[in-house]
């Protein structure tokens, strides 16, 4: 007998050991998220997936599902918090979508669309961040990094390489690479590595693929991230 929780009044089954996010994704229920990807261990940093469980706000990607939990997710109050968090991500980096190759395929942008973000609202930081074009096949542009650690986890858990890491704390956090020179070109990253392909934003891009699909025909130009990540939206 599988156990169940309810999410926004809907009964959602789960297996022992699954998180609320795991259970939701398996049932096609969308909870906005950026640092989570079911292929990797949860990181719990972006807080976009925050839900209300029995009256308390928790990150659904790290919270184990427990029989009988009453979960609220798609409610105005939480969506407003998610919008504010997304806006903060936009102003903390340098996100100039019209000049970004990833536009239309970017999860940060797609979440912003889903939440109806019309402007970043907060004053921009315009931080000074370095781009690194030293690798022959992979481009690293820290201006667009949201510190989700997906590349870090992919490199460690799948590629067995530890190419990427986060250093520093808070607003001083920096995405670093594991080479004496600090340059991506001097690491053992291969273009076929998982880490080169998991970035939800345009911070890690494969070179020479830029505009293979024209703007306007990209994934999130027509389909919401909710429908992409839950396989819905066909009706």
């Amino acid at each position: 007998m599988s156990k169940t929780i309810t999410i926004d009044g809907l009964a959602v089954p789960f297996q022992e050991g699954q998180t609320i996010m795991d259970a939701a994704l398996a049932s096609g229920v969308y909870i906005p998220h950026l640092c989570h990807n079911p292929e990797f261990k949860p990181h719990g940093s972006c807080k976009l997936c925050t839900v209300n469980v029995n009256g308390r706000n928790v990150a659904s990607c790290t919270m184990p599902a427990v029989e009988g939990q009453q979960v609220l997710s798609d409610i105005a109050e939480l969506n407003a918090d998610r919008l504010a968090l997304t806006q903060m991500l936009f102003v903390e980096g340098n996100h100039l979508c019209p000049a970004c190759e990833k536009t239309g395929n970017c999860q940060l942008q797609a979440v912003a669309y889903y939440l109806g973000m019309m402007s970043p609202h907060y004053n921009h930081f315009y931080p000074q961040r370095e781009a690194d074009a030293s690798h022959p096949d992979v481009m690293l542009d820290r201006n667009r990094c949201i510190y989700c650690e997906l590349c870090v986890r992919a490199s460690r858990e799948v590629d067995g390489k530890n190419v990427f890491g986060l250093s520093g704390r808070g607003i001083k956090t920096l995405l670093v690479v594991n080479s004496a020179s600090g340059l991506l070109g001097d690491t053992d990253l291969a273009v076929t590595d998982k880490a080169a392909h998991v970035c939800p934003t345009g911070a890690i891009l494969i070179k020479r693929h830029g505009y293979a699909v024209p703007i306007g025909q990209r994934v999130f130009d027509h389909i919401t991230i909710k429908d992409v990540q839950t396989g819905g939206g066909d009706e």
Partner: protein, 180 residues
Amino acid sequence: MSENKVRIATCSLAGCFGCHMSLLDIDERLFGLIELVEFDRSPLTDIKRCGPCDIGIVEGGVCNAENVHVLKEFRKNCKVLVAIGACAINGGVPAMRNNIDLWDCFQEVYCYEGGLECGQIPNDPELPLPFDKVHPISEVVKVDYFLPGCPPSGDAIWKFLTDLLNGREPKLDYEMLHFD
């Protein structure tokens, strides 16, 4: 000119005029629009100073002292101020210079081979004082509405304007909401 028409003003600050081009992309619906509105300051009228208006539409970010003057005049005169396009909303493509020293920028544009002025950086008192960073207009004045896109499509502008003119809260369909 009718007394009860809605008065609209538009201007371009640090932008490429693409948002104004997109405004023209509402095509024959412009005839319907002109029944409802009249234009004050705008590239369409070539009026240089903004007078009292109902809606001000601002394209482009703030990159120099003149932009600030124009923007403040708009804010003073317009009941509702709309930031249209990526540049007005977050600096857009011009803000790509924010991480480059202004002097280096000028040298690249005017001094190096292939540059515009062959070794001379323009220095005329008529030229507005450039800022070292390009800013969204919301960092200078209060903005009432934001219409993103680079540029927003003619359809998005039409939907937005007709919502506003009909007293509805402007709302874009999913495919009209774009940051690029």
